[in-house]
């Protein structure tokens, strides 16, 4: 697939955000993934041209970061956190279930291109363990059953809503968000959920507060 002129314009929009052009490279690679589903050779060439770098310099950066795919990601890229706190609290068991249900392993994609799978490291949501992600949106407090339910729904095109965020859109759509283009979904999901409010709720129950700070 060749990249459109629109992509090139968006790349230039990203570059314009920075005092020095090269700083735009990471968001530009997210932009490339929003078009191609991975960091394609064409995408590397576009970044190199716009930034005055060699394709080798761009590829060297792209291959350093795990969010950049070297082959097309699934329409829904599923992560299962296996870092110890999540892994021990159930992530390892969830991984086994999901991987065997889909018949694919780490960094693999289902034959129909719908789902790709990744063993992810800490997602900064340990209070919500075990945690999964779909196109990096939070799927908190998972069980093997809820995990299978999520992947089956996504595989068959049914709606899944993030536990702290919007309806799960496609991998490409979310990559455009990360490139810094507003998607209008900021108000989706809760402002804070049960775990985020645990301390505040407890403080209110006990009548505790910080001096001068009404709660």
């Amino acid at each position: 697939m060749s990249l459109s002129e629109k992509t090139r314009e968006q790349a230039r929009e990203i570059i314009a955000r920075y005092p020095q052009a090269r700083s735009a490279l990471l968001p530009m690679l997210h932009l490339i993934q929003s078009e191609e589903g991975y960091v394609s050779a064409d995408g590397i060439a576009l970044c190199a041209e716009e930034l005055g770098l060699t394709t080798a310099e761009v590829a060297a950066v792209a291959t350093f970061y795990t969010m950049y795919h070297r082959k097309p990601a699934g329409e829904y890229h599923i992560g299962v956190c296996i870092n110890p706190s999540c892994g021990i609290l159930g992530g390892d068991a969830i991984w086994e279930k999901v991987s065997s249900r889909l018949g694919i392993g780490h960094d693999e994609v289902t034959p129909d291109g719908k789902i790709s799978l990744e063993r992810i490291e800490c997602q900064a949501a340990c209070t919500h363990a075990p945690v999964m992600t779909a196109n990096w949106e939070f799927l908190d407090n998972m069980t093997p059953e809820s995990a299978i339910d999520v992947v089956e729904k996504l595989a068959s095109g049914r709606e899944v809503i993030s536990t702290r965020g919007p309806r799960i859109r496609t991998f490409k759509e979310n990559e455009l968000t990360l490139a810094g283009f507003v998607d209008g979904l900021v108000d989706d999901g809760v402002q804070a959920d049960e775990q985020m409010l645990a301390g505040l709720k407890r403080a209110k129950e006990l009548g505790q507060s910080a001096p001068g700070v009404k709660i």
């Binding site: 990471l26 950066v61 706190s85 021990i88 490291e121 965020g165």
Partner: protein, 433 residues
């Protein structure tokens, strides 16, 4: 010790993440106060407050700001480290989801103090919904005239750029973060020179953690005495403690520094019913684990250091007696192996060796001689790499061996998942798998 919600005081209001919610409780008054006070005085206030960096190292924030040279002709940059990726750390992420404007106002004040006209928020790419909330907060602040040219007629200009990373724990290290922000592989730089002198684009820069910067508006509005009324002499202030693991009510608990782990655990509903604490980590996987007899240690930088660990990110993980220490440590070391950037040989090679040998233990095939080998490898990594990732990788095993040697000996003949049924450690234990 009582809970003291400050940063988290209004997260239960549906618009807590919007400018309306933030301004309802005095938001965007502190920066005007700061503008009226003057930049050097703001730095003095932050110094006097004793605020220490909340990203893990605990370096005094005001001192860090004062290292940015003034009166030079170079541009200055403020860079917020929002790359929260430390295993166990999950406090900046909820803060940015529910109260991003405290970060934006903190940025205005910090940038003003260090005379930076450009600020960047380097946020990890794996949290798109948090990206949306921060992005929206920046746009709301621009629309209100709190960012941009000549803010509120002050003559001070500030542009703020939100920048998504792409999956690399190492970019939480400040010099690797700067390289990444410059569009390069995220690898740490040799220090000195420190970023305060040669930082982003080789200009004076300051890299601060999200929670650190979010503290600033509350400090400016309420003053040094108020701030120091929380915590201890050496660890003043309050902290978003994220309590996770085998507890009944994991979550965010904001309390003064100096609260004990036992008190926090009680707030979090205690260790899950029918179980007891086996080991706990005060602040991420990069700090040495501690045992239940140390639960009464105050959670301050100095008290936790005195018992042989570190406060780190202040995000305690609690594990009960169903947990295999061998499995947990093997998991963490696998993480460091995965995340080592490869620049320094001791870290790059050492983490692979640690991981290989620990996996033998996890499978029940370790030897007693391997324990000495593991300690030897840790000693070869610690202090021999550019950045703290190497030191962190050398941390979990020695502490685990100190407290749980028997378990490693057991793993010379019995696999970890035989000695400890993995099902029993899950949150859904008891339910059918």
């Amino acid at each position: 010790m009582t809970l003291t919600p400050v940063l988290s005081a209004h997260w239960d209001e549906p618009d807590s993440y919007k400018i309306s919610g933030y301004q309802r409780h005095g938001g965007y008054t502190a920066f005007k106060k700061a503008f009226a006070t003057g930049p050097d005085e703001v730095i003095s206030i932050v110094k006097d407050s004793g605020l220490r960096g909340r990203g893990g190292a605990g370096f005094p924030t005001g001192l860090k700001w004062s290292f940015v040279p003034q009166g030079d002709d170079k541009p200055h940059y403020l860079v917020v480290n929002a790359d929260e990726s430390e295993p166990g750390a999950c406090k900046d992420t909820p803060l940015m989801m529910a109260n991003p404007h405290s970060l934006i106002e903190g940025i205005i004040i910090a940038a003003y103090a260090m005379r930076a006209n450009h600020a960047f928020i380097y946020i990890r790419g794996e949290i798109p919904h948090v990206f949306r909330r921060v992005d929206n907060a920046i746009r709301e602040a621009y629309a209100a005239g709190y960012l941009g040219k000549n803010i509120m007629g002050s003559g001070f200009d500030l542009e703020v750029v939100l920048h998504a990373g792409a999956g690399a724990y190492i970019c939480g290290e400040e010099t690797a973060l700067l390289d990444s922000l410059e569009g390069r592989r995220g690898q740490p730089r040799l220090k000195p020179p420190f970023p305060a002198v040669v930082g982003l684009y080789a200009s004076p820069s300051c890299v601060n953690n999200v929670e650190t910067i979010a503290n600033i508006p509350y400090l400016i509005n309420n003053g040094v005495d108020w701030f120091r009324s929380f915590g201890t002499e050496k660890s003043p202030g309050f902290k978003l403690f994220a309590v996770s693991g085998h507890v009944n009510h994991p979550g965010i608990y904001e309390a003064p520094l100096g609260i004990t782990m036992r008190e926090l655990l009680e707030h979090a509903g205690g260790v899950r019913n029918g179980h007891s604490v086996k080991f706990w980590l005060p602040g991420g996987s990069s700090v040495p684990m501690l045992t239940p007899d140390l639960l009464d240690t105050p959670l301050t930088y100095e008290d936790i250091a005195a018992v042989g660990s570190m406060l780190g990110t202040g995000t305690p993980m609690i594990f009960d007696e169903t947990t295999s220490v061998v499995r947990a440590v093997t998991g963490w070391i696998s993480f460091y192996k995965h995340e080592s950037c490869g620049k320094c040989t001791p870290c790059r090679e050492g983490t692979w060796w640690l991981s290989d040998v620990l996996h033998r233990f996890e499978a029940g095939h370790g030897t007693e001689a391997d324990l000495d080998k593991l300690i030897d490898i840790c000693e070869q990594i610690a202090g021999r790499s550019f950045c703290a990732l190497g030191d962190a990788a050398a941390t979990p095993f020695p502490a685990a061996l100190k407290y749980f040697r028997d378990e490693f000996i057991q793993a010379t003949s019995t696999a970890a998942n035989v000695s400890f049924d993995p099902v029993a450690s899950t949150v859904f234990a008891g339910a059918s798998l």
